[in-house]
């Protein structure tokens, strides 16, 4: 047997990118379950369709670029992108919305930039923002939590949900099926005291919105699991959450009609936890050093709050992440680590 000429190290911890991505998928489970429990089968259908589209588009893009298809599909990143995008979409989204979103994520944001590792922007968020700008109505029509839906509306079962997504049957567009999200309500409110607002609308659950708080807690659990498995470091999510907490505390305004909502409301509302643990931690498009990641995360947090309070969109995590993707190279430039032996150079 001829001796192999390879360079050191000759050993490896045997963890692959594919495995890392599988862990990420696993970690989305609690949040996805919570979303399904609260909003029905729509999220699962989104995920199913998105994954199918993503694999198909990724494979054909690789084929066109003459790359080994199986080798690249094995890294699971297309599936992760698809799942993350599907979670961000309103449940019961139409198939063409999902397809367009996946096209922007996989083809435009990723493959056109050279494939995995070369994309400057978070693919899932590119897809989401493209959809938000193109189809604002479809993208802001969040269904009401099942438990708040009037009895007159039948909640679609899994099969019906699939048929709705495939446009075979009509989505029940009657009032009560969709409902303004708590974030919308707070932003649009200019007359009621915060407490009155919360009392008036049933969507506000215990802390932050009926169901939303459970989805956020689910994503928090998943994120902590990934943190424990050292898939990423604490710097980005923690600094992002801290920034949101501090900003919302500054603008809480004692719960007046001007209030932007309590810190807890913001931490457990909207896509905060999902964004902090699953979007902002995307390593490809984020800053590299720990110091840089703190700045990067804090930037996302501050921008998220600013857009939530003064912007025009239902949630702001996607825009905040994309804006900070822009600044990641700059942050990298100014936040190099101090290597061994540089602290005591005369």
């Amino acid at each position: 047997m001829a001796l192999m000429r390879v360079t050191s190290p000759h050993t490896h911890n045997r963890q692959t990118t594919g495995q890392v991505m599988q862990l990420v998928l696993l970690a989305t489970l609690p949040g996805v379950l919570a979303l399904t429990f609260v909003f029905g089968w729509g999220t699962l259908v989104n995920i199913l369709l998105a994954v199918v589209f993503a694999i198909a588009l990724e494979a054909s893009a690789l084929k066109l670029r003459k790359r080994p298809v199986k080798f690249y599909l094995n890294d699971y990143t297309a599936i992760v992108t698809a799942v993350l995008l599907a979670i961000s979409l309103p449940p019961y989204s139409s198939w063409w919305v999902i397809l367009v979103g996946i096209f922007f994520s996989i083809i435009v944001a990723k493959q056109l930039y050279g494939g995995l590792g070369y994309n400057p922007f978070n693919p899932a968020m590119v897809g989401y923002v493209a959809l938000l700008i193109s189809f604002p109505v479809a993208m802001t029509a969040w269904p009401a939590p099942i438990h708040l839906t009037p009895d007159t509306v039948t909640i679609p079962n899994l099969f019906d949900a699939l048929l709705i997504a495939l446009s075979v049957i009509e989505r029940p567009m009657i009032d009560g099926f969709t409902m303004a999200t708590p974030l919308d309500l707070v932003r649009q409110n200019d007359s009621l005291l915060l407490n009155d607002l919360i009392n008036e609308y049933p969507q506000f659950g215990r802390w932050s919105g009926y169901g939303w708080e459970w989805a956020n807690l689910g994503f928090l659990v998943g994120g902590l699991f990934l943190l424990q498995r050292k898939i990423f470091t604490w710097h980005t999510p923690v600094s992002m959450l801290l920034a949101i907490a501090i900003m919302s505390a500054l603008f809480y305004d004692g719960g007046s009609s001007n209030s932007a909502g309590s810190p807890l409301f913001h931490l457990l509302g909207g896509a905060t936890m999902f964004g902090a643990w699953f979007i902002a931690t995307d390593p490809v498009s984020s800053a590299v050093s720990n110091k840089g990641r703190i700045i990067y995360g804090a930037g996302i947090g501050v921008l998220t709050f600013i857009i939530r309070k003064w912007g025009n969109y239902p949630d702001a995590v996607a825009f905040a992440v994309l804006l900070m993707n822009f600044s990641a190279p700059l942050i990298d430039h100014y936040t190099q680590t101090k290597p061994y032996g540089h602290s005591n150079i005369k």
Binding site: M4, P9, Q15, T16, T17, G341
Partner: protein
Amino acid sequence: MRKIWDIHGGVHPTENKTQSLSEPILQAAIPPYLYVPLSQHIGAAAKPIVKVGDKVLKGQTIADTSAAVSVPVHAPSSGTVFAIENKTVPHPSGIDDLCIVIETDGLDQWRERKARQNFNLFTDDELLSIIRNAGIAGMGGAGFPAAIKLKSSDSKPINTLIMNGTECEPYITADHSLMLEKANDIATGLAILAKIIKPKTILFGIEDNKLDVVNGIEAALNRIDFSTHSGCTTDVRVVTFPTKYPSGGEKQLIEILTGKQVPSRGLPADIGIVCHNIGTAVAIKDAVCLDQPLISRITTVTGEAVKRPRNYHVLIGTPVSFLLEESQYQADQNNRLIMGGPMMGFALADISAPIIKTSNCILAPTEAELPTPPPAQACIRCGMCAEACPASLLPQQLYWFSQGKELEKLEQHNIADCIECGACSYVCPSNIPLVQYYRASKTDIKQREIDHRNAELAKRRFDARQDRLIRLEQEKIAAKQARQAARKKANPPNNKPPAANASAANADTAATTDNTEREATVKAAIERAKIKKATHSKTTDDPVARAQAKREAQLAQDQADPEAKLKRAVESAQQRMKKLQVKLVAAKDSGDPNVNILETGLEKAQSKLVSSQKALDDYKKASNSED
């Protein structure tokens, strides 16, 4: 309990150390041929001082060197010098290098040795030269000549001596077994080091996966009073710390034990620390006390492709294949042969490469044990490498810049601080051979520095040459002007009577004759310059064409007008004669002792004139008859 510090990063690969520790160190047999490379460490190679066919004794110096960073090489056993030629050596390149091949006679007969039981009788300098002449070069892996590290410098006093018994690489147990079995030798070697270095603190660093050696080491150290050797109060401590790769790296160990960091591009001596491997301590003890040079070492042979993994006390120059045979090597199961550990060792190209002074381990793994690395995937900048990097670098950025060969960016990101430990590649989920990119980039940076230095030198030489050419041209022009000026001045005084005023005439005539004589040579020079100029303007900068044109032009000129050339010769002979006559008169007047010489010179000039005149006449006759 002494405080210990933690280092950034690090990894915990499977240790696999127990396999080779199941049996004690075995003295390996003497192989029929020993292949002793002349370059076994950092620095210059030694030069052979024996010839093919020479008889050598064990321990005899067979190659020596006067270079600063280098040590001599000794015969590991007695025998005959069989060849001095390029052979396979253990080097990542797989390039052959000069080796002295010794055919052993099996007698293992020592050269004469002078045991020095009391090393305190020797001065530090004597000990240093003993250590250097024993060929001791760092046994830890890098192989830096030990004597150089030991040389004291007044500007950098050493207060802490660190004994490195860390051995953090998986599989390797050479140092471990040495500490188990030769604790007393280590202690004696350490005492010699303490005498030379005179440290206030000696720290003996051991990872906590080797706690079984601690008692033995402590007992051996307690037997020695280090303060008497070092001449000052010396505190000796054995320090254990958690196992983590690469805590055995010199810089990392220093941080773990002292909390200090060696400055970037600096040496441990800059912060008053020196670090030696325990293997070096034993080698120093053997060299000083027993007068035995470094001709053998402890090498671990392990991996699943050998049936009897164990440690050997092996002669330098023993082929790896010989050692593997002793361990019942299963060649068909072995996928690669590694010299060193799995993290930093290099794959051997040839099983016949010899053991050298830095060979601490031969690792023969099976494919299942250390699988072939899969193709690398894209870097997703996950940052696991940055978390693992003991130098706190940003490997993902370095990888990016290495791919683009952006050497300046690499330097900005401190690639020079990379210790090439391989922790980044070990954790990379995309299986990118990161450290290989850094090694290549580091050599590229070094090469670029050399290239720039060479370019600078070449530029200086080119500029100097240009200056010289310009100067010569200017001198030519100056000479031409001087000649023209002189001709104007020289014509009238030429008619003056020679001996009007003795001294005045002397000076005057000397000048004028000088001028007239120069006139002829300058005329010739101008001719040449003209040709040169002409050829210059014709051919721009092609030296070939220039050379050819010049040659042709000269030939053409000579052929075109041979009469002029002959006439010139007659003229110059006449002038020289005239000048000599004047000089002779002046010399006779002043009673110069050189009169005789001048007289013979005049005679010669006369005959030259006659012959050149004759040549001219002959030519004229010939040309006339031709007409």
